[in-house]
């Protein structure tokens, strides 16, 4: 064994802690068995070592392998990151160079590139391979040695693979090219430029990217932009001693040029009770950008500043505005003294419209672009294509920010399309939320079974024999929204012979189809969740699984993961069984009919609505109807008991907190009242129950590496606004525990105004912290609980089709019950990283969803005339500010600011004739109301007052368009009864529907090429969840039509 290793030594000079150079000798073991990690390998390299098994290997489909040298790996990593360029071998030499000569961020990107199984790229430990290692000769300079090592590695690869595949070494070192290029056939040495021109000519935009990278490099002057910051060791010492504080910079979206906060990060990972630090102005922000990890020095108290209280232009509701401080109170203020880690992503930007700034551009000069995100400063890029790109949205990346420069430097990457185009705007919001949604690749589809009419997918007997067969013994059915296609949960209930009750929850067995580490798995992991936008969705797993093989449709045999409880008559759980099963769903019910069955609908109504019951003879029909009625009734009664029990244990009566928090606050759908049926709760309760029990099981088996979901208790100070608002209506809110909060919310009912309770509940939702996934090994046991659901353990198990967390949980459950071995399960460290990744992706998906709703809102109001009946709505005041208030419009479920004072200092008042007028006056604000005093009269606006506002669109070139609200009247909208009884709502929707149908006709005539047919049907299936007359989906669909029409 020892013979395999050859010991050599490496002499290094290292700078010691006192600044002395130390001579260090490190031993180095050379070996023959460094794996080449190539599928073409003829020698039997142990290629399966490593974290991802067979993934992350050089594929045999590549026509050549690329070995970049150190300089290229550092400077042109971005080109290597292009998804099309595959089969890259990074030598250990290059990786070290990236790590030590480049930045930490660059190194992380390199690591991510390697980890991404789709890139088929590897790190080759050339310095450990006996025949690829070159010793650094005495006096040899570093660059020379690096390129010699790289070339040697190239040669080694070529020889090792017996010349099967040409190798390409990328270098910018002219000397190396001359020296090595003719040395060996099929081992090419060339520059990146030649390589791209030779191999990737067809790849659009890659040359542009290369050019812009090169210019950005040229412009990088000698002194780095870090020089203005304190050196790293001083920062680290300062952080340790408590003199400096590290944290993440968060810029206030509504006042981006002056206000920013540093959210402290430190030992306590999730709970941050310490106050954020205020950063005032661009100077103290010292070139840091939203999201960067920075180090702050707190200023002496005499220099502390307070934040402004006025609602700034474009402010809508956001979380940070809830901590409503008095304007004269100051908060800890600091300046940024160093940056630990840049957190730059891709930014969408637009060229500024004024000609002035673009004059010198044609000469190849610099031009400023305005990022879509308000929080990002303008970026200076150099481009020669200004004429072409003037009216487009473009993708830019940041390169550096010089000390002497007002704006950061960046480079142009690609164009997203014309401004105002729907596709462009959607692409924009995907980029802004860092969501990548490319179509699934052929290789991924190939891994999955196919199901076509001539080659239908069937179950194998072998697999069936391994599973528990429930097809005959259990009555399985699903209850979903009408028209739902991807059914991932089904239920069963029956009475056992001993009188006990058996409740079953059966979930689509996605893990059977998606093996851990397969390409589909990697893709699903990187997406983490299905992203739902208003008019489309981006699936997490390919449609063959999501809407076919994994969907538990009625009448078809399907594989499932089941949790089955045996309960006594008092509904105490006696036994739980977890395992893989084969099921056949008998009925696919929808909520409304299930509710009707429970209410005792007559036979005809049931038969009419359940296709599975049609065409049976009378006797059979009676039996089956009886069965079904019993099952549905029993299920609902069981769920009732479960819910009661949870509620009495402190369960928050905001029963849909989990759902709401997930959907984010501005989910329009849950603001426009939907019929809430008891059966909704039944299903939700069953799923919560299943999730809870699965959590129990996996924690028991994997106390240190189970994926759970927790929901920390909210900070008490977050409730301030809720308590203040409630107090204005005379309600008292007790926030000491989830139970008391729920109870006091239930008491807050104003008989005359149902919006009061709704608004208060929403305010309560804002106060909540967000629920998160975590690995049990990474936080203390007492933080596992779920506040909203009042459960000690909770996880996600029931929707593996659209959430990756559920897939992990499925695998863990399988290992826990001994069906699968637990070797492939992620360890605590990997799981912790994964949980963070999933949390980030979920947040991004929610933000994208919200942004897309806002996008459609603005499209909806785009062409409306200001006096249009649809633009004048009733609104409720829910928060007061210095120069106006925030309102909620029940009709659209939108929130927004209304100004009482404009920039010129004039205030608005309602004249005798009922028309608003701007005139000089003053505003007086107290706890519960704001009063407008003018010469003529004074008006008082209290919390929860109803007013009338007019909605118009404030369009913006570089940013997303926003809605502008103007006060029309201080009384409720006269004929508006919608908030009181909801009838109006339906009437209006009818109008929308009419408009919509004419739109469809119109657009189909005018745009015959636009393929609306199949697309429309698919979308309808996906989003047609509510009754058409009430569904927001249809309203949004209208918006889409509007935008498609030529102007």
């Amino acid at each position: 064994m020892e013979e395999k290793l050859v010991k050599t030594e490496r002499r290094l000079r290292i700078k010691g802690s006192q600044g002395k150079t130390l001579r260090v000798v490190r031993e180095l073991y050379l070996r023959d068995d460094v794996p080449c990690q190539s599928d073409r390998c003829l020698a039997d390299c142990e290629n399966n070592i490593g974290m991802h098994g067979t993934i992350g290997r050089l594929s045999n489909e590549s026509t050549h392998y690329i070995i970049p040298d150190c300089q290229v790996a550092r400077d042109y990593l971005e080109i290597l990151e292009t998804p099309d360029i595959k089969g890259i071998v990074f030598t250990q030499t290059a990786v070290h160079s990236v790590q030590h000569e480049g930045s930490k961020r660059l190194y992380t990107r390199l690591q991510n590139l390697i980890k991404d199984g789709r890139k088929r790229s590897v790190i080759f430990h050339n310095e450990f391979q006996r025949y690829a290692y070159c010793e650094r000769l005495p006096g040899e300079n570093l660059v020379h040695w690096q390129s010699r090592s790289t070339y040697k590695a190239c040669e080694w690869y070529y020889d090792h693979l017996a010349g099967q595949i040409p190798m390409v070494m990328l270098t910018h070192n002219e000397e190396a090219i001359q020296l090595y290029s003719d040395k060996k056939v099929n081992v090419f040495v060339m520059t990146v430029k030649d390589y791209l021109a030779g191999f990737w000519e067809q790849l659009e935009g890659i040359m542009d990217l290369y050019e812009s990278l090169t210019t950005a490099l040229e412009n990088k002057s000698k002194d780095r932009d870090y020089s203005g910051y304190l050196p790293l060791d001083v920062l680290e010492a300062g952080i340790k001693s408590g003199r400096y504080i590290q944290g993440i910079l968060e810029v206030n979206r509504h006042n981006a040029s002056t206000e920013a906060f540093v959210r402290r990060s430190g030992r306590t990972k999730k709970v941050d009770s310490v106050e954020d630090i205020f950063i005032h102005g661009m100077v103290s922000r010292n070139r840091s950008i939203h999201g960067d990890k920075v180090v702050v020095e707190i200023l002496p108290q005499s220099q502390w500043k307070g934040r402004s209280l006025a609602i700034c232009p474009d402010e809508s509701e956001d979380k940070s505005s809830t901590d409503d401080k008095e304007s004269d109170s100051v908060i800890p203020t600091g300046i940024i003294v160093g940056i630990l880690q840049r957190n730059w992503r891709d930014y969408v930007a637009t060229f500024s419209p004024d000609e002035e700034s673009n004059k010198n551009v044609n000469k190849g000069g610099k031009v400023l672009v305005i990022p879509y995100d308000y929080r990002i400063p303008k970026i200076r890029i150099s481009t020669r294509q200004i004429d072409k790109l003037k009216d487009q949205r473009v993708l830019v990346r940041l390169d550096s920010w010089e000390m002497d420069s007002q704006y950061p430097n960046g480079h142009f990457v690609r164009s997203l399309g014309m401004l105002g185009n729907l596709e462009t705007e959607v692409a924009t919001l995907l980029v802004e939320n860092s969501i990548q949604a490319l179509p699934f690749t052929d290789n991924q589809i190939k891994e999955l079974p196919s199901d076509t009419s001539d080659n239908p997918w069937t179950m194998t007997d072998e697999e069936i024999s391994r599973r528990h067969d429930l097809r005959r013994s259990h009555l399985v059915f699903s209850i979903d929204p009408k028209g739902c296609e991807d059914v991932d949960d089904t239920l069963s209930i029956r009475e056992l012979e001993n009188g006990n009750m058996e409740l079953g929850v059966h979930i689509a067995d996605v893990t059977y189809f998606i093996e851990s580490g397969s390409l589909t798995d990697i893709e699903a992991r990187s997406r983490s969740t299905t992203v739902y936008l208003s008019d489309r969705r981006y699936d997490m797993i390919p449609p063959i699984l999501s809407s076919n093989l994994c969907s538990l449709i009625s009448g078809v045999d399907r594989y499932a993961m089941s949790v089955i409880w045996e309960m006594t008559k008092d509904y105490e759980v006696k036994k739980v069984w977890y395992g893989r099963t084969v099921i056949q769903s008998k009925y696919k019910l929808f909520y409304e009919i299930a509710q009707r069955i429970n209410e005792g609908a007559n036979d005809d109504e049931i038969i009419e609505n359940i296709p599975e019951l049609q065409g049976l003879d009378q006797i059979e029909l009676d039996i089956r109807l009886g069965e079904l009625r019993w099952a549905v009734n029993k299920l609902m009664s069981v769920a009732r008991i479960l819910k009661c029990r949870r509620a009495s244990g402190g369960g928050l009566e905001l029963d849909s907190v989990e759902v709401r928090v997930e959907m984010e606050e501005s989910d329009v759908e849950n603001l426009t009242p939907k019929d809430h049926l008891e059966v909704h709760e039944t299903i939700a309760e069953c799923m919560i129950f299943a999730n809870h029990w699965v959590a129990k099981k996996i924690v028991e088996h994997f106390p240190n590496q189970a994926l759970l979901r927790n929901h920390p208790s909210p900070r008490q100070d977050q409730f301030d606004m809720l308590i203040k608002c409630a107090a204005s209506k005379g309600f008292n809110i007790d926030t000491t525990s989830n139970k008391s909060l729920a109870e006091s919310l239930n008491r807050c009912v104003d008989v005359n105004d149902p919006t009061v309770n709704k608004l208060l509940r929403q305010l309560a939702v804002y106060a909540m912290s967000t629920a998160q996934y975590f690995s049990t090994g990474s936080i203390a046991h007492d933080q596992f609980f779920h506040y909203g659901l009042a459960l000690d353990l909770y996880t996600h198990f029931t929707s593996p089709i659209r959430r990756y967390a559920d897939i992990i949980v499925h695998r863990q459950l399988l290992a826990a019950i001994g069906v699968d071995n637990s070797d492939n399960l992620p360890s605590n460290k990997i799981l912790d990283e994964l949980a963070d990744h999933i949390n980030i992706k979920h947040k991004a998906a929610q933000n994208a969803q919200r942004d897309s709703q806002e996008l459609f809102q603005s499209l909806y109001f785009k062409d409306k005339k200001p006096d249009d009946e649809q633009c004048i709505v009733d609104a409720v005041i829910f928060q007061l500010r210095v120069n106006g208030f925030l309102v909620f419009m029940p009709r659209y479920g939108i929130k927004g600011p209304v100004y009482l004072r404009n920039k010129e200092g004039q205030v608005v008042f309602i004249g005798k004739d009922g028309k608003p007028e701007w005139t000089s006056g003053t505003l007086v604000r107290d706890d519960k109301s704001i009063t407008v005093n003018t010469l003529h009269n004074s008006h008082k606006y209290s919390l929860f007052n109803h007013i009338t506002v007019q909605i118009s669109l404030q369009s913006s070139r570089a940013h997303s368009a926003s809605l502008r609200l103007e006060l029309l009247d201080n009384k409720p909208l006269k004929d508006d009864k919608s908030t009181l009884n909801g009838n109006q709502n339906t009437d209006r929707s009818d109008i929308v529907k009419e408009v919509q149908s004419t739109m469809i006709e119109g657009s189909e005539k005018e745009l015959p090429s636009h393929d609306l047919g199949p697309n429309f049907a698919a979308l309808k299936r996906e989003f047609g969840q509510t009754d058409d007359s009430k569904s927001l989906y249809h309203i949004f669909e209208t918006f889409k039509k509007i935008s498609l029409q030529p102007l």
Binding site: V24, E27, I49
Partner: protein, 247 residues
């Protein structure tokens, strides 16, 4: 220095070893003529000399003398040139004193002490070059020297260290790996009976992982045992050949 990656995703350590591989071990017995027994060992770049004197009568204060067993006297010292920065004093500092005590405890347990009551055995250990695992190399060298001196031992005494990086136990950690601040477990065992003579742990290690790391360290000890045993057998056969030819 940006954080070094102690264990790469491909399973290589900084010096090119895999997690279960020891450093290269080279050793020689009988390097000095004056001492009763002596040995030299290299574990990677850690180089240690050991010399054993005795058993002989108790020197110095007779109060130290033990009536029922032999007095084991150890001295651990590090050459001033053994580390990157020249050391001030070779012995007598806290670290060396502690190490001396550990060595004494170890060999008290391994030597069959009741054979030589009222006498003394001296073990002198000198670290010539230090690159992690000083204690382990010292124990291994001292074992060889004791064998060379013909002092009866219960068994070979083998020591090996193990660390824990990225959820993987790594055996025989070098200076660089030690200084990373991760957990370190030092184990000394009697390989045949697998009895633990000495166990030391630095930094925090989760209880669940202890047995994994311990297994790896004992496996390392047994590997070292195999190497030491071969060296002893080679030495003995060489010595006997020399003896035979001279006769």
């Amino acid at each position: 220095m940006a954080g070094l990656e102690l264990l790469s995703d491909q399973g290589f350590r900084i010096d090119g070893r895999r997690s279960h591989e020891l450093r290269k071990i080279q050793c020689r017995l009988g390097v000095f003529k004056q001492a009763d027994g002596s040995a030299y060992i290299e574990q990677g770049n850690t180089k240690v000399l050991a010399a054993v004197y005795g058993p002989h009568e108790v020197k110095g204060s007779r109060a130290k003398m033990l009536q029922d067993k032999v007095l084991v006297n150890c001295q651990y010292s590090m050459a001033t040139f053994s580390t990157g920065e020249r050391k001030r004093r070779p012995r007598g500092d806290r670290k060396s004193t502690e190490m001396t005590m550990h060595l004494k405890q170890t060999f008290d347990a391994a030597i069959i002490t009741n054979l030589y009551p009222r006498s003394q055995i001296d073990i002198y250990v000198e670290v010539l070059q230090s690159d992690g695992g000083n204690y382990c190399a010292s124990v291994n060298a001292a074992t060889l020297a004791l064998i060379d001196a013909g002092i009866p031992l219960k068994d070979y005494v083998c020591a090996c260290s193990a660390g824990f990086v990225n959820d993987t136990p790594i055996v025989d950690i070098s200076y660089l790996e030690e200084s990373g601040g991760g957990p370190e477990l030092i184990v000394t065992i009697l390989p045949k009976s697998e009895q633990i003579v000495f166990l030391e742990q630095n930094s925090r290690l989760h209880e669940d992982n202890l047995s994994k790391v311990l297994d790896v360290a004992s496996k390392g000890c047994k590997d070292i045992y195999a190497i030491l045993d071969r060296a002893v057998r080679d030495h003995v056969s060489k010595v006997s050949n020399v003896a035979n030819t001279t006769e």
